[in-house]
């Protein structure tokens, strides 16, 4: 059985994923992928997987955007 909460978050995740793909500017994309990570974390919580929620929070919402931002900073500096 899927509850209303689960259906809502599934729709939000689908929308978030589309938003990440449609964002063209890399810096903005990092922000949207971070928010997408938060949405995924809520999704895992709604499907009763708190351990996965914590992993997704740390990796998807913190670690990945941070590494991407630092890489972008380095690349931009070389381009200047």
């Amino acid at each position: 059985m899927t509850s209303a909460l689960q259906v809502t978050i599934l729709v939000l995740v689908a929308g978030g994923a589309t938003a990440v793909v449609l964002t063209r500017d890399p810096v903005r994309q990092v922000v949207s992928v971070s928010i997408y990570g938060l949405l995924l974390a809520v999704l895992f919580m709604a499907f009763q997987a708190p351990d996965v929620t914590l992993s997704e929070l740390t990796v998807g919402a913190v670690a990945l955007p941070l590494l991407l931002l630092l890489t972008l900073a380095k690349v931009r500096k070389q381009e200047e």
Partner: protein, 253 residues
Amino acid sequence: MTQSQRRWIFLVAGGGFLAFYLWGLIGLPGFGHYPGPYGDIINAIAVPQTHATGVVSAVNFEYRAFDTLGEEFILFIAATGVATVLRHLRQERDTSAVDEARNREVPATSDAVAMVTLAFIGPTVVVGWYLASHAQTSPSGGFQGGIVLATAFVLVYLAGQFIVFKRLSPVALTDAIEAIGAGSFAAVGIAALASGAAYLTNILPLGSTPGAVNSAGTIALISFFVGIEVCAAFILIIGELLEQTLIVREGDR
């Protein structure tokens, strides 16, 4: 190959993939209807056998601790690789930690950002420490706790203090802590060997109350060591990448 030929190849391949994918989806068991025996067995025996109420941690750090050891060393090697690839080369020189763009003013870290990040550092350390040390009781573990702890150091940087970030986490120290964390995990396994049991057997007393912080024997210990290793590895990687943004190669200008 012309544009239309490409489109046809894509359409045929995509259509075939979609058909097989949907066919596969139809054959899957429904959500929540798990057919295998493993999950049910673990649910039945994990708490009495390990005294860990965080059953996911019991699986990670006890039943499949050897796999987790492998994953631990993947991260260890990844951090080592980043440190090696991004090491200082002869033709590189450091620039100071300032904005070098000539055509704009250097934006100072706003008071609001500094205040919020500084206010978050304390709670972040507490949450990270809690996660790393309570794997045996509740959904948490060394991996998540380690990253959250490392985030506290990143917050120091976000507050505008690159110098403080480097002073808090000198590479030699984070390197050593990372190695100690990873090595201690392996040492817990070797201690089990020395006592005559199989590698990574839970040889410590389990404690009388399942779910207590001081229960579950080596599960709590391994999770703690993983937390230390992950925290140090992540700080090391972030530090190396931060430094990269400050390094200028001779050929660049």
